[in-house]
Symmetry: C2
Subunit: 413 residues, 2 copies
């Protein structure tokens, strides 16, 4: 018999939340020294210049005016039809792929990623992913016994590293029939990098060539930050997912968390794109089975918010105004950071949108520690630091690069 | 290579929602004939006598007065501490087991059941369950490759069938080291049956004997309807989960869905009870890993509602008054049904509380069809019919038994 009451596959050390820890330290520093004196680059949510979470009025007025019965009642297991239809339109804009498209409601973007890893891979198959990534991908691979393999995200000119992607794809398929390729673009977390349309053509060419051998290749587009990644043209790449070979299936993880400042409401969807209607339907069936097995149905109010806003011209206008204003806020902050970084010769990865800018460096953990001495609190990862333009005021975005540069030089002298 | 883009373990026919279908037919009948003429016993939520969903003012006023930032922000992955502490107190009342107790937030009760099936069983191990059960248990076993085995719930005198339970437990453990026993009590869905305290002693004796051989036995208490199952003494049985042998671990699936009329808010918790502190902690670690891998964190507003109500004497009083009034509404409806059933010799399973009463019969599907001719819409399962006292007015509860009896006699003549 096993020697542990926890089943073999389910034994994990406690997940420590590094971000939570450094955020806590930062809060203490603010309490002691005052908000003006501290740079809080720990959070992954939109924060105004006074340190308050931004929660769109258009979204929360809609919630507060909602009939309580519409909040209280269960939603359909697969999500309500109006929600899914409107979400698909909103996600793709005018660039809806020419393909069979089915959507299913999920708990945030997380749920859509979970479903993609679960439905298209067997245990032991690979998820491949650039080496600047959201750590939950790896946690999911552990949980579901998928292999997780990363490749160098960018080449020396800071373009998407097609060669490394190719090599890793070949490696993943060498002894397996299935692979899933994650692309967290546009406005990658943690870098703010977006894969451009020409590069998408090259990536899809590579995938199509590998698929010619009859292997099953899944593409997961995690577009959590897409609404903060441009004025609309950032959605043009979706068109490229038209008429792909049948053994390539694409899913889009769409989340209301960032785009509606509705992080805590846990509403998203997995959009399935396939040239084969039967495959799209059967992926939907598989994911509906998963929905029932893990959360039954998702937050009804979240779905209603999207439907209420999209169906009311006035509300929609208010929402879009708020979204635009906050996208511009991010752009201003990022511009301030990038300009200052240039002045002090701080190297960062190219930023095209979203909540974060990444600074590659050696000994990132030590650099983050050093920055605390300079009253700056920032999240580090294996490759560098994640600066949160979503959370830091424009003024502080101007100051931050110099502090970071100094800390890097001091640690890595 | 596999011949299907869906991975081997993830291929399922589309889940058809029988309840949704019959509910739709019922709505059409109401539209055509008027609400007065139709008995709608399709729903699993509290419905007032005018056919409206009951949503507690105390709950939804709390939500509507909540700071939007507290709704918008992410909760902790494992759930917020105040929420978990208050929920544990609320769940157990004065009958908290003398054991190590850890709780983790989950998406409704569903999430807590999912975690229990996942964390304590390996693929191929058995979940054993009475043969009147919530169908999602079986869906979860399919999803996670656990075996699902049911046993005859009640003996001929309508007591819990200890002999059948024993046999099934022995069967499940014959070639395996782990088993999970589901008990949806008090106020079982779909029967309204509650296992009494003396029977719990016998059940636990059986389990302790089997555990003596060193096998790992998990007990899942699905208490979704517990707040509608009595005036408080229905929680006394929790005390019995004190000081059990270390190789028995208990989890409680607690849900705000019914107890707060917050079905659509998807907030619950898995409460872990163990005599071994390390086991409790490591089960928590495993489930936190699962949380991150499937939904990241759950609806923040749901947790805040519980905390706000429990921490405010006035709100708490309003909430408890509403809960009591609705429990009494259910009791009155059930009493009307039971009395009428007696008059017409309609056999039903013993009802002790909750949303449903079950009527065992042959050919339940045909009986449910026949009842449509009598303008009554009811959900059938393998063993009989599920009458929804949660959804049918007292007057109609009086009429229903005669219609059901007639339909059974007509179909099974």
């Amino acid at each position: 018999m096993g020697k542990d009451i926890i089943a073999d596959h389910a034994r994990w050390p406690r997940l420590e939340d590094e971000i939570f820890k450094v955020n806590k330290e930062c809060k203490e520093a603010i309490k002691e020294k005052g908000r003006d004196k501290v740079i809080d680059s720990t959070l992954g949510t939109l924060i105004d210049d006074d340190g308050n979470l931004i929660a769109f009025d258009s979204v929360y007025d809609t919630l507060k005016n909602m009939d309580k019965k519409s909040i209280a009642s269960y939603a359909a297991i697969e999500g309500n039809e109006a929600y899914l239809d409107l979400l698909v339109d909103k996600c793709f804009g005018p660039y809806k792929p020419d393909a069979y498209i089915k959507a299913i409601a999920t708990a945030g973007g997380t749920g859509a990623i979970r479903h993609s890893f679960w439905t298209f891979l067997n245990p032991g198959d690979y998820v491949i992913c650039p080496n600047w990534y959201w750590p939950a991908y790896q946690t999911m691979c552990e949980e579901f016994d998928r292999e997780f393999k990363t490749y160098e995200f960018l080449d020396k000119d800071f373009n998407f590293n097609l060669e490394e992607f190719k090599k890793t794809l070949d490696f993943a398929l060498e002894n397996r029939d299935r692979v899933l390729c994650v692309f967290n673009s546009p406005a990658n977390n943690p870098t703010g990098f977006s894969i451009d349309d020409a590069m998408w053509d090259e990536i899809l060419d590579v995938i199509k060539k590998r698929a010619a051998a009859g292997k099953f290749i899944s593409i997961l587009l995690d577009v959590a930050y897409i609404e903060f990644a441009g004025d609309g043209s950032q959605k043009k790449f979706f068109e490229k997912f038209s008429s792909l070979p049948e053994n390539i299936i694409t899913t889009v993880a769409y989340s209301m968390s960032k785009s509606y400042t509705a992080y805590g409401i846990r509403t998203g969807a997995c959009i399935i794109i396939s040239s084969n209607g039967d495959f799209a339907n059967r992926a939907f069936d598989s994911m509906k089975h998963s929905n029932r097995s893990i959360w039954s149905n998702i937050t009804h109010a979240g779905m209603n918010i999207l439907v209420d806003i999209e169906n009311d011209e006035e509300k929609k206008k208010s929402y879009e105004d708020e979204l635009k204003a906050n996208r511009q806020l991010l752009e201003k902050r990022a511009k301030a950071f990038v300009e200052s970084a240039k002045e002090v010769d701080l190297i960062h990865l190219p930023y095209f949108g979203g909540f974060f800018i990444s600074i590659p460096c050696d000994n990132p953990k030590e650099v983050a520690e050093k920055l605390k001495e300079k009253d700056m609190y920032i999240v580090s990862n294996k490759n560098g630091l994640r600066f949160a333009v979503c959370a830091v005021s424009e003024d502080k975005c101007k100051i931050a690069p110099k502090l970071i540069k100094e800390a890097i030089d001091e640690v890595n002298k």
